[in-house]
C-alpha cells in the first residue's frame, strides 16, 4: 500500500472514527455531570430563543468591545471565514466531502479560494505572533493553544503545496505523478481530525453549547445576551 492509499484509506477512517468517538465522548462526559433545575421564577420562558440568540449574537462583538485595540477578534473572523471558504468552496474538498457523505454542491471560483487561502495564511501567522507577544495571551497560552494552531496551519500549508496537482472534475484523481504532496496534505488533515475532540479545537462544537447555555440563562433573567 502506497502512502496515498494509506492516507485515503485506513488513516482517514481511523482519524474520522477518533474524531467522532472522541467528540461524542467529550459531550457525553460533560452531560453526565448533570445539573439542577433553576427554581427562581423566570422573567421570560423563551429559553430556546435566548439560546439561539446567544449563539448568533456572539458571532459579532458588541459595539462596546469593538475598539479594544486587540486585533485577535477581527483576525479570528478572517481565518474562520477563510477556512470555511477553503473547506466548503474548493472543488477537490467538495469531492472529498462528497465521497464521504454523498453531498455535493457547486464550488467557488478557484481564484476566490486561493485569495481566501492567502488571507487565512496571513491571519494564522498574525494569530501566532499575537499569542507569542501579547502579555495576556502569553499568560493564557499552553501546549494546547500552540499545538492546535499547528494542526490547523499544517493542512493549509500542505494544501498550498499540493495545489498544483491536477484534478479531473467530478472524480477523485487516481494516482498523481508524485503522490507525496497530496498524501502529506491528507495526513495533516487527519492529524487535525484526531486532535480535534481533545484540545481547544473542540470549540468547533462546544462554542454553540456554551453560547446557548449562557443565552438561555440570560433570557431567563431578561438580561443582556
Amino acid at each position: 500500500m502506497g502512502v496515498l492509499e494509506f492516507a485515503r484509506g485506513p488513516a482517514l477512517w481511523f482519524s474520522l472514527a477518533v474524531m467522532i468517538a472522541g467528540s461524542l465522548w467529550r459531550i457525553a462526559g460533560i452531560c453526565q455531570l448533570g445539573g439542577r433545575p433553576d427554581l427562581s421564577e423566570p422573567r421570560s420562558a423563551r429559553l430556546w430563543a435566548g439560546a439561539i440568540r446567544g449563539i448568533f449574537s456572539r458571532m459579532i462583538p458588541r459595539k462596546e468591545f469593538r475598539h479594544s485595540g486587540r486585533i485577535g477578534g477581527l483576525n479570528a473572523c478572517v481565518y474562520h471565514i477563510g477556512i470555511a471558504v477553503i473547506v466548503l468552496g474548493y472543488l477537490p474538498h467538495i469531492h472529498f466531502i462528497g465521497r464521504l457523505t454523498g453531498l455535493l454542491w457547486p464550488p467557488l471560483p478557484a481564484p476566490v479560494v486561493y485569495l481566501a487561502a492567502g488571507f487565512t495564511f496571513v491571519a494564522l501567522f498574525i494569530a501566532l505572533v499575537e499569542r507569542l507577544t501579547d502579555p495576556v495571551l502569553r499568560l493564557l497560552s499552553g501546549f494546547d493553544d500552540y499545538f492546535s494552531w499547528l494542526v490547523v496551519f499544517l493542512p493549509l500549508a500542505t494544501g498550498m503545496i499540493a495545489i498544483n496537482q491536477s484534478y479531473s472534475p467530478g472524480a477523485a484523481p487516481a494516482l498523481p505523478l508524485d503522490p507525496r504532496p497530496l498524501a502529506i496534505h491528507l495526513l495533516s488533515v487527519e492529524l487535525l481530525f484526531v486532535w480535534l475532540p481533545f484540545g481547544k479545537l473542540a470549540h468547533t462544537f462546544l462554542v454553540f453549547i456554551s453560547r446557548g447555555v449562557t443565552g438561555a440563562a440570560s433570557a431567563r433573567k431578561g438580561a443582556a445576551i
Partner: protein
C-alpha cells in the same frame, strides 16, 4: 436571631479560615462543575478578549487580571478531576497538578479583590462563557476551604450573628423609622400581616441613606400601596453571595423568607442594592431548594410599574445634567435596563447617558464584596478611573444610581479624586418630584 437549619453549615464555612485546606478547595471546585458549568469551562479558546472588558485590567494592564485567568485553579482542578478525559490524562501524567495552598493564597486576590462579579467580561466573551458566574462558583471553593479574604469572613460572621453585615439591629432601624415618620408625618407600617409588599433594606441604607425610608413612605402613600417592614429579617444584603458560600447565603436569605412567610405578604421588595437583588431574586430559591411562596420585585421595577399604571404621579423635573450609573446586578445581570431610564426621564430634564451605558456599563469598582475588602482599597479606587472618564465625558452635574453600595463606593471615589458632583439615589429623586396630594 432565630437559628435556621442553614446556620450550622454556615458556621462551618467560617471555621474553615482557621485551617485553610487546598484539598477541600479542589473538592469544592470539582463539585461546582455541573453540566452547564463544564460546557463553559471547556469552551475557552484563550483569546484574551475578556481582558479588554475588565476595568481592573484596563487600568493596570496587569495580565493576571484577565477574567478567565482568575479561574485557573478551578479550571485546572476540573481538567484534573472531572473533565471527560481526566482519567486518561491523569494516568498519562498529563493532567494539571493539584492546586496548592500557595496558589490559592495568590488567587484569593484575583478571585476577590480584582473581581466585582460585574459580568462585563461575560458580555464580551465570544464563546459565550459566563465568566462572572464561574468566578461566583470558584468562590465557593475558596470560601469553603478558608482562602477567602479575612474581611469577608468577618463580615459574614457579623451578618450571621447580628443579621446585618454592619451590625445593624432592629433598634437601630426602629429609630430611623421613627425619625422618618416624624420627617414625613406618615405612619410606616411594621410587621403588618397580609400586606401586599414587604420592604427589606440594606444596612447601608439604614445607616447612610435612611431618607429612602421616608421617600418610600411618601411614594407608597400616593400610590396607595399596602406595605410593611419586618422587625426581623429586614436585612437585604447577603455577604454569602459575595464571599461565595451557598451555606452562608442560604442562612441569611432564609431570614427574609421566614419573615415574608410569617407576615404572609404577596411580594418582597428588593431595595436599592445590586447583589441583594441577585441573591433574593435569582439565587434564593436555588439556595433554599424550593420556590418562594411570594414574588420578588426590585424597587426600581416597582416604581416604574406604579408610574406606568398612573398610580405614581410626579410634577416638575430636575434641570441639572444628570447621568445614571447602572448597578451591574440590577441592569446587566438582572435584566432591568429600561425601568431606571424611564424613571430618570420622568423626573429629569437633563438626563444624559454615559458611553457604553446600560448592559455594558462599567462597575463602580466596589461590587461583589470588593468594597468590604480593605486590602483591595487602592485597586478599587484605581479601577474607578474607567467610570470617571465616562462621567466627565458627558459633563454630568450629578450621578444617579439605584444601589446604595454603588452610591457609597462612588462617593468615596469621587472624593478621593477631588471631583465635585453629588451621587443621588433614584428612589429619593423620584420622591422629590411627587405630585403634591
Amino acid at each position: 436571631m432565630t437559628p435556621s437549619p442553614f446556620t450550622e453549615r454556615a458556621q462551618s464555612v467560617l471555621r474553615a479560615r482557621e485551617a485553610p485546606d487546598a484539598r477541600r478547595a479542589a473538592k469544592e471546585f470539582a463539585a461546582q462543575a455541573s453540566r452547564d458549568t463544564a460546557f463553559q469551562l471547556e469552551a475557552c479558546v484563550a483569546c484574551g478578549q475578556c481582558a479588554e472588558a475588565c476595568h481592573f485590567y484596563l487600568v493596570t494592564r496587569d495580565p493576571r487580571y484577565t477574567p478567565i485567568y482568575k479561574l485557573k485553579p478551578m479550571l485546572d482542578t476540573y481538567r484534573r478531576e472531572r473533565a471527560p478525559f481526566s482519567m486518561v490524562t491523569r494516568a498519562l501524567g498529563l493532567a494539571p497538578p493539584e492546586v496548592t495552598a500557595e496558589e490559592l493564597n495568590e488567587w484569593s486576590e484575583l478571585l476577590y479583590d480584582s473581581c466585582n462579579l460585574c459580568g462585563r467580561c461575560t458580555l464580551a466573551c465570544p464563546m459565550g462563557i459566563d465568566i462572572a458566574g464561574l468566578v461566583r462558583r470558584a468562590r465557593e471553593g475558596m470560601s469553603a476551604a478558608g482562602f477567602a479574604p479575612p474581611d469577608l469572613y468577618a463580615v459574614a460572621e457579623r451578618a450571621l450573628e447580628s443579621g446585618s453585615p454592619m451590625g445593624v439591629r432592629w433598634p437601630a432601624l426602629k429609630r430611623q423609622i421613627e425619625l422618618q415618620e416624624r420627617e414625613t408625618g406618615l405612619k410606616i407600617p411594621v410587621d403588618a400581616q397580609g400586606a401586599d409588599y414587604m420592604l427589606v433594606l440594606s444596612s447601608m441604607e439604614v445607616i447612610g441613606f435612611s431618607e429612602i425610608i421616608g421617600a418610600l413612605a411618601r411614594i407608597f402613600q400616593q400610590a396607595k400601596v399596602s406595605w410593611t417592614i419586618p422587625s426581623a429579617g429586614f436585612e437585604a444584603t447577603n455577604v454569602g453571595v459575595q464571599i461565595g458560600s451557598r451555606d452562608v447565603a442560604a442562612a441569611l436569605l432564609s431570614r427574609i423568607v421566614d419573615a415574608a412567610e410569617r407576615l404572609k405578604v404577596k411580594s418582597v421588595i428588593s431595595p436599592e442594592c445590586g447583589h441583594a437583588y441577585s441573591a433574593l431574586r435569582w439565587e434564593g430559591p436555588n439556595l433554599l431548594g424550593r420556590p418562594y411562596s411570594f414574588k420578588v420585585v426590585q424597587i426600581v421595577e416597582l416604581l416604574d410599574q406604579l408610574v406606568r399604571e398612573g398610580r405614581l404621579r410626579t410634577r416638575g423635573k430636575d434641570t441639572r445634567r444628570l447621568t445614571f450609573h447602572d448597578p451591574c446586578q440590577i441592569v446587566r445581570r438582572g435584566g432591568l435596563q429600561q425601568a431606571p431610564r424611564r424613571l430618570m426621564n420622568q423626573v429629569s430634564d437633563g438626563f444624559v447617558e454615559m458611553q457604553d451605558s446600560g448592559a455594558a456599563s462599567f462597575c463602580c469598582g466596589g461590587g461583589g464584596g470588593v468594597s468590604a475588602i480593605h486590602r483591595a482599597e487602592q485597586l478599587r479606587l484605581a479601577a474607578f478611573e474607567c467610570k470617571q472618564r465616562q462621567v466627565e465625558a458627558v459633563g454630568a452635574e450629578a450621578i444617579v444610581t439605584a444601589c446604595s453600595n454603588c452610591r457609597d463606593v462612588l462617593e468615596e471615589a469621587i472624593e478621593q479624586r477631588e471631583m465635585t458632583l453629588p451621587v443621588l439615589g433614584l428612589t429619593e429623586l423620584v420622591a422629590q418630584y411627587l405630585e403634591p396630594e
